[in-house]
Chain length 288, copies 4
């Protein structure tokens, strides 16, 4: 890395540049080793938080877990402060996505000194694992993730309409079931009935609350059929957008004159300016 | 709004025109403020109905909820009468979709004077929220909603066939399970067995009723596999129609020389023979 | 109907022809009335069988239900014999789909004289309702049904592979869960464990049997994720075939020389013999 | 089979060649009979293992089952040794997919002498049934299976991203639910909460553990809606890839004169300009 990284500031000392390359970079051997150690530490720390919540293990190894947990927290705190110190604009890093996650990953342990139980929140550290995508320079994986999220973004507006319709249905059915079944069959109040309606319409069906009257069961059947039919809607939206995205990806040739893109696979002339298109190798990079 | 609105009648007085613009319109500052207040009032009133159904809150704030509820009801009644009075043809408004909803939204409170409990029905007010789509002039959202409902309408006939097949299956399996399991395992009668069959075939599975004999479980497994396979059907129908709708939006013009179809929305020249395309009205913009 | 129906035989008497038109036809006023009465009788008889299974109603109206039930059965028996008598080849009708259904619809009542409880089987009469499709000459509905079943037939082979894979998974997981959880947690034997595996993999989840050990829960999680992912497979297969069927429906122009069908929407020359294709109105009948 | 099979070695004796044809081949009458016997033996042996796990049957027929089980195991052991002996490179066979399965299918019975209960593991024999695909030379079925697994392979990377996202969500929600609900409502520890989160997000919903606090239920509703929406993702990915695979099969040739692509598999002339198409190897037959 010869050119100064904009994140590093205009004239970094060689030491700062070196630390930066280790902590933030993925290109040098030291940077890669740092990233790998970080990943291992994150996974280990999350696993320990999980195991610590199991009563039998907590009783036997509670003290060891506690010590290791503080060890990891101190380590991550040092790392966080290092990151803050090394970048040119600490505030900007602190407010970035990874900056916030890095802070949230160490806070719970300190909070646990004040509030009992909050140390379990540190499983939020698992979110730091998202760095793994950057670490391995998984360009291809990121490409896949981008395709998926592109389709999600294009279908977001349709899905919003769908969620809106669903919430309306859940509210109306929740209120009706509260009226019909009532507290004596477990539908204690409307918010609880709405929770039941969500559980039912999404075809989860815990069964902790279930209708017991004939009318309630008829209404539940209607709600179930709506939910069963509505499974179609987000799937249909998303699939149609994803398929349209895959097709669009294939047609990327640019016109040599007007630079228009998006020609069909069989196009010979530019549809915009009429210039002949060079018939290069058919694209077909498609989704892999 | 200079031209008289057909809903307002041929020669409205300026006062009527003004009130109409506030109550029905979304263009003036006053009309927008009115709509926003209405939305807030609707949501607040629904929330209060929900909270009132929670026993603890009802015991403590029941009287306040009751008062606020009546306040909202009087407000909505005044608004309903205002709407009835201002339009040229009150009966037509009263029978329109929003007219019926507006009436249903105030009836339950008055009914609660006669029938205890019916006041909870007023969560039907949530349906009034549908006006929000018109309020923000969410042309794009409405366009999305139209695409979704278009696909739904085109697939309605196929889905009817599907529902018919499903009901036949549910009836036959319900009767068989009643015969096999019988009242001793909770399958008290055929309608209840059919309810169980619906819960099962839609993969909800509350578990309040479950087969207990070997034969009953085998039959349940068959029903489950049918349901698991049939999830495909509405999804497949809907997706195929939605995708076909997205595609149809794009290709509507034919080349005058070579008759090639399937040109992109922005095409000026035929991509096959280079002839100029008549640039007619652009087809519907695709879903983004 | 001037030309003799092949089902009716070569030289029917006018009486036979008339009875045939009433019982089998849907074109004459009398035939339509007969069909409608039949539908009402079928639905009424199924509803009575359902209501008779409800204990309270059985105690009160049991005798009336019994009488009505026998009335319907005698009616349907007469109708069945009439059909047998009127057609030229009774055996062929008796072995046809509707012939078998018609017989099955009357058998249970007679069987109930020998075996108690078997009268509930007559809800199988609901299958006779399938005639309704023919009754209303719902050409369009039948077209939709044909599209759906065409796609189902084309995807049958792929779905067979899928079901085969699923059964293998269910067998292996069922055996493993029996080993891990054992009878003390409700997994009494391998067939029961396989039933649980089907209930779980299809995301039904009754909860009458649920794993209680840590290892069992881990295995259940894996099975759930497989099932969640496999929901994709039949849907994907069916959707792809249905969409391909909808597309194929649009290209139906025949070559005037070699009668080849299946030309693309933009074809100008027959791809088989090179003859020019008349550019008729674009098909696009599509799914509506 | 005149030419020596590479698996059989360069110069096999006639006896070895004959045995090889029976055990590995499917072309001779003897080979086919051997394969059929094998299939029946496998299914019979798996069925017996299942039935043996049913308490009532075990008590009555336990000894007979035990004897038959050992009979099958000896048979399969002989077959396995025969296969090892007949092939030119035994180690290569032993490490192949079918070699491993064949070994796993006999090990459990021998293990049951040492460890009680392990004999039930032999339902793994069901995997040997996969040979059935080869037996009937079900080229078409295999073609279908290949299409399905091709689409699966192409979508594997996207599905990995999806599973990664899902596991992160499950971890975070599992920890939060443990904090909110705690052991008093059945959420004993974080791993158990994560199991609940998987059961919930996949819309299975056993109901053995269910949230009981208002906050827990709100969080569960959010998780359910995420799961309900995420059902879309693997389905969408898989469907899009499968459809793209079906399409790709059809258009592989370009017209030598006008460069039009997308010709049907049976096209002889370009549908656009009428030029003769070079009839190269026909592309893969579409999915039927």
């Amino acid at each position: 890395m010869n050119r100064p990284d904009p994140e590093l500031g205009p004239a970094p000392t060689p030491v700062r540049r070196r630390i930066y390359a280790v902590v933030f970079g993925h290109d040098t051997r030291a940077g890669l080793a740092f990233d790998l150690c970080l990943m291992v530490a994150i996974v280990a720390s999350v696993l320990i938080a999980m195991l610590d919540s199991v009563e039998g293990l907590h009783a036997r190894y509670g003290h060891a877990f506690y010590a290791v947990e503080w060890g990891f927290t101190v380590l991550f705190t040092v790392e966080y402060l290092l990151r803050l110190w090394i970048v040119a604009r600490p505030l900007r890093y602190a407010r970035s996505f990874y900056g916030v996650i890095d802070l949230l990953a160490i806070l719970p342990t300190y909070l646990s000194l004040l509030v009992a139980g909050s140390q379990y929140l540190l499983v939020i550290r698992i979110l730091r694992i998202l760095r793994v995508f950057r670490l391995f320079k998984l360009v291809r994986f990121l490409y896949e993730a981008r395709q998926l999220s592109d389709a999600l973004r294009r279908s977001a507006r349709k899905i919003f309409v769908f969620v809106f319709a669903m919430l309306t249905i859940v509210t109306v059915f929740g209120a009706l079931m509260y009226l019909i079944e009532g507290p004596e069959h477990g539908f204690d109040n409307i918010p609880l009935s709405m929770y039941w309606a969500i559980v039912t319409v999404a075809t989860v069906g815990f069964g902790d609350i279930a209708p017991a009257t004939a009318l309630g069961r008829m209404l539940a059947s209607v709600l179930i059929l709506i939910g069963y039919g509505m499974i179609a809607v987000p799937t249909g939206i998303y699939t149609a957008e994803l398929a349209s995205g895959l097709r669009r990806g294939a047609r990327q040739r640019a016109c040599p004159r007007c630079r228009l893109r998006g020609h069909e696979a069989d196009a010979v002339f530019c549809r915009q300016c009429g210039a002949g298109l060079a018939f290069e190798t058919p694209p077909e990079p498609q989704s892999r």
